[in-house]
Symmetry: C2
Amino acid sequence: MPSLTLIGMGLHDEKGISILGLEKARSAEVIFMERYTNVMPGLDLGSLEKMVGKPIRVIGRREVEDGTEILREAQLRDVVLLVAGDPFIATTHVDLRLRAIKKGIQVGVVNASSIISAAPGAAGLQNYKFGRSATITFPEPLSLVPYEVLRTNLSLGLHTLFFLDLRVEEERFMSAGEGIRMLLEIEAHERRGVVSEETLMVVLARLGSTSQVVRAGRAGALLEMDFGGAPHSLIVPGKLHFMEAEALVTLAGAEEEIVRRNL
Amino acid sequence: MPSLTLIGMGLHDEKGISILGLEKARSAEVIFMERYTNVMPGLDLGSLEKMVGKPIRVIGRREVEDGTEILREAQLRDVVLLVAGDPFIATTHVDLRLRAIKKGIQVGVVNASSIISAAPGAAGLQNYKFGRSATITFPEPLSLVPYEVLRTNLSLGLHTLFFLDLRVEEERFMSAGEGIRMLLEIEAHERRGVVSEETLMVVLARLGSTSQVVRAGRAGALLEMDFGGAPHSLIVPGKLHFMEAEALVTLAGAEEEIVRRNL
């Protein structure tokens, strides 16, 4: 039946898709996959094609944003669009969905794991204590938004999850160190006392993979460390519950003395 | 190898587990499943046991919070604990993980989809525009926390995701209507002008299932509707981007006039 189903692939590789997602991909007539809104370092296209039993057409930003071809196919056939992470975190997926519905195409969704839920869990931080999240973008030009979001969240005692800019098509991925530097640079201009080299932060690298790293410590210390390949993300904790503090020590190697300041 | 792996099962039924999660469950020696921190209405235990090829021991709140048996097994064998949604949303999973590590047990995690990422996506709302989330609990006694969280988020123009209380072991699940009533009741006492029958809200019922409902409208209108079985959740949007407004009309049946007030 003509339709468009957006299927999330989770965090790391082709084994992040759910059983339902795999079933729907197997029974689809056409499979597109976009890899530009997110990066899945472990994904092997050949192995994924073997799993779904048919060729997968990888499409780029232009084709997803334009959408003409996907929608034309979905008016004729049972079409699946595979996306990294969970669908609809990217605005462009919502846009595509709305346009499909306007054309009378039936749209389905299969969810998968997302950094939004996985990152707090990996650090042992409570989800309901996170405020708004933000993306730290490459400074072209420098955006103050992440700094303002952090300022508001910290004033409310809340944790902040930062996504780090990635431009998959240019193979540019912001590292945790660059993200921390960006925040410190804004602080140097704005001087509102939001962040310093002493601020407790948590770096998360390649969540969901066997080479996953979760490391908490002083911003100034994390800055100097190499966390390996993309994707990275960053958490700046606000006020910690004692179990969260214990988790940062046990799961993320933080020194007790540094964590204690946020209790 | 002795170990404890927490595996998320996603939102609705046994097909929400990822390929990686299924593989790990199949190779485990002992499988526990807890069903009290969340409800998965479509889950069929027999079908899940067939999928993993071995019996699954369903355990309750007491056994997870106590943890003695799970940890004893995990010191001897390769143990899996299946949980609804994504692991570590519930504090008790973090607690169990920390205790396991203290006993020298290797702990693994396999993520799955979570309401935290799925709910905004289902309503077409942008994730980074959500503030802190909160749970509306049964009034025993009445908690002001959800009201205060909503007040703060709305003052910042942010959306709020509310989880609704569920006591699986007592088979008590708060409906969206009860949740809305609870907020209106607190407003009647507090009178801070946070919420009224005119407030735009979004009800989400049974996300991830084929009977999923996503419905936006005036609180006073949603109050009167029957959204069927649990689980329900609730979003109170703050300031809407025009694409979010369009999504609430197209995906959630909101009247344009009502959505326009939040632009």
